[in-house]
């Protein structure tokens, strides 16, 4: 794995956004060859989305030939609800960029047949040629998407019941009223994300430190589903200092002091669509 450690949340968000930008620009997406991007929601990736929007506004990055697949969506929450992941993606990303609405895919938590919806989503990903880069986050309980502790590490897109930890963590978005938080969600499986060519996990804040420790310094374990990515050939963990608080000094030194200059070459120079390809 690459463990990219930045000093704070802003720098981590910026690094991640620059990396995504470089990957898209280098790929030279076109009408015949779309760049497929997996996307997360939540407070962690917010700064990264802000940066990507900035890059789009400056004319350096276009999403015209990008297809996106979000990781998850609550079951039974009206799509127009301000806390639905559809609302999050519209307000924090889609409305500010030039993505074709037909290429922005999010699971429908209000579908008549949830199982059919999940299977169809897997097919859409396959039809798009698979995911080039899947961006994700990590829960305090070490979950990726809504693959709660105990999820199969080869799981596919399906309905999951949320763990107590997750419900408590999400209560702050529902007026701190536990009874208002949805209890089920549709989520891509661990296996679904593992199929991506490359996986980038954003982890910031001291409250995620223990989960990061379990995910990368302990064994592969279905109780900490992010640990599955130890077996993916191309995983990048992007964190801030606070998220590394539970790691061994040796691990942090190896990746920070030892490898940061290598990591920085991935985002420096930062490429622009203006130089690299014509729409």
């Amino acid at each position: 794995m690459r463990l990219v450690i930045l000093d704070d949340y802003e720098l981590a968000s910026e690094w991640a956004a620059k990396y995504i930008r470089n990957r898209i620009v280098e790929f030279k997406p076109s009408a015949d060859r779309y760049f497929t991007l997996g996307l997360p929601t939540g407070s962690t990736p917010y700064g990264c989305y802000q940066k990507l929007i900035e890059f789009h506004r400056s004319g350096d990055l276009s999403f015209k030939y990008v297809k996106t697949f979000n990781m998850d969506e609550y079951v039974g929450l009206p799509r127009a609800h301000p806390e639905s992941y559809h609302s999050y993606m519209w307000n924090n990303f889609f409305k500010h960029i030039d993505i074709d609405p037909a290429n922005a895919h999010i699971l429908d938590g209000n579908a008549e047949d949830l199982e059919a919806e999940c299977n169809a989503y897997e097919q859409k990903i396959a039809a798009a040629g698979g995911i080039e880069l899947f961006v994700g986050g990590i829960g305090p309980d070490g979950h990726i998407a809504f693959n709660e502790p105990g999820s199969s590490l080869v799981s596919r897109t399906r309905v999951k019941t949320l763990a107590k930890d997750t419900i408590v963590a999400n209560a702050r978005f529902f007026g701190n009223d536990l009874s208002k938080v949805p209890t089920m969600a549709l989520t891509v499986g661990v296996g679904t994300v593992m199929d991506a060519k490359e996986v980038m996990i954003l982890i910031t804040g001291a409250h995620k430190a223990f989960a990061l420790y379990k995910a990368i310094e302990e064994g592969v374990n279905h109780m900490w589903t992010v640990s599955a990515f130890q077996q993916h050939p191309h995983t990048i963990f992007v964190c801030d200092e606070d998220a590394t608080l539970e790691l061994r000094v040796k691990t942090v030194k190896y990746f920070k002091a030892g490898l940061m200059h290598v990591h920085n070459q991935l985002v420096d120079p930062v490429l622009s669509m203006k130089d690299h390809y014509k729409l």
């Binding site: 127009a80 559809h86 609302s87 519209w90 889609f94 409305k95 074709d100 037909a102 922005a104 999010i106």
Partner: protein, 406 residues
């Protein structure tokens, strides 16, 4: 990029680089319009996988709902109360000109007149939406003739009337038809007025109290029967007195039925109401304040002497005097001037000033589901303003109907 607009083929316009008035705040958001109505872009994105056909850069302007003037007697030499064969030409002229002031809907107002005038004029102007030809007509505002003789102001005394009984007979005999009428101003101390108020309410006509010597309990009684507006607060009514606040007391009355608001018109031209009085009213009851111009024929005419009907009027700045005297002959401030003056005099926020000119009159007339606000589904009647609240562009149903010269 081809798009799948499964609901409608009408072009979608996206107003960008602007601050829109939504949920009582100016927010940095884009405004989407289709088919003359405000569109929900999130639904468009997810349901229809659609996007804008055209982006309009607003250069940082404020985008507010178009202003609504519920009391305007004429302008540009036109007097709505002047009986004539062809009323619509005059109304259309004024309707076109007030687009420059950001007004997208209005109530042409008739002062106390003989029945023959109402019978002739009312059927000639239907309620209709505006467009490039001019602001929309929401219906007539009939100020009189059922008003107090003592407080008639400039209204002709010989045409004042009282209610012989409480029924619709007096209304029908006087006005002819109420089809094109949005509002009636009357004096609630007149006997039998209560049932007239109820009748008008039932017919969907807004009832306003004005040109009256009513005390507070008579005014409260009228409100209980359905009255919901006060015509030009402070003017043509008993002054506020601390033991009998009169009609002015409605602003803080505890007798207003639950769920109802009493609105009040203010002529905020800096002349008809002392700024301190304006502030007292605004602070006492901010959500009821409705800006009106109460503009007369002379509004919009250049400074100097003008002969208007039987009167000779002298215009100096924002003052219109009976020529050769210091007697005010009416208001000539435009709606956008009133908005600017109100904001400055009341010391209120931009949002409050803009709502007093659009949201509150829309609520008063019971049309706030489609006018006076920028919520999804509302009519796209817009006014684009600079930071000084000067009108740059006016839109009706999403179509540009006036643009300021640069």
């Amino acid at each position: 990029m081809p798009s799948n607009k499964s609901v409608s083929d009408a072009p979608i316009i996206q107003f960008t680089n602007c601050r829109i008035l939504r949920e009582h705040k100016l927010q940095r958001e884009d405004l989407w319009v289709r088919d003359g109505k405000i569109l929900d872009p999130e639904k468009l994105f997810f349901d229809e996988q659609g996007y804008a056909d055209r982006c309009l850069d607003c250069a940082g302007a404020i985008v507010a709902p178009g202003f609504i003037d519920v009391q305007i007697n004429g302008g540009y030499g036109v007097d709505f109360s002047q009986p004539c064969e062809d009323v619509s030409t005059g109304v259309s002229l004024v309707a076109k000109k007030i687009l420059e002031h950001g007004v997208t809907s209005f109530c042409p107002t008739l002062v106390t007149s003989p029945p023959a005038v109402y019978h002739q004029v009312l059927p000639q102007i239907n309620v209709h939406n505006g467009g490039p030809e001019g602001a929309g007509v929401l219906g007539f505002h009939l100020e009189g003739p059922f008003i107090s003789s003592e407080k008639r102001g400039a209204h002709p005394e010989r045409f004042l009337r009282t209610f012989r009984s409480g029924g619709t007979d007096d209304l029908m005999e006087t006005y002819g038809s109420l089809d094109n009428v949005a509002m009636v101003t009357l004096a609630p101390e007149l006997p039998h007025s209560q049932s007239v108020v109820s009748t008008l309410r039932q017919k969907g006509v807004t009832v306003s109290l004005g040109h009256s010597v009513a005390n507070l309990s008579q005014a409260e009684d009228a409100v209980r029967h359905g009255a919901s507006f006060i015509t030009h607060l402070f003017n043509a009514m008993l002054p506020f007195h601390h033991r009998d606040p009169g009609i002015v007391g409605l602003l803080t009355s505890d007798q207003i039925p639950a769920g109802r608001t009493v609105f009040y018109g203010m002529i905020a031209d800096g002349i008809h109401t002392n700024p301190a009085a304006l502030r007292i009213a605004h602070r006492a009851h901010p959500s009821g304040l409705v800006l009106v111009t109460d503009a007369i024929t002379a509004m919009g005419l250049p400074p100097g002497r003008h002969t208007l009907g039987q009167q000779v009027v002298q215009i100096q700045g924002l003052h219109a005097y009976v020529a050769g005297t210091k007697t005010l002959s009416g208001s000539i401030a435009t709606m956008d001037m009133c908005v600017r003056h109100f904001k400055q005099a009341a010391g209120c926020s931009v949002e409050d000033a803009l709502e007093a000119a659009a949201l509150h009159p829309a609520r008063l007339l019971g049309i706030s589901h489609r006018k006076g606000s920028l919520h999804y589904g509302a009519d796209a009647d817009l006014v684009l303003l600079d930071d000084g609240l000067r009108v740059r562009t006016t839109y009706i149903s999403g179509e540009e109907v006036w643009r300021a010269e640069l």
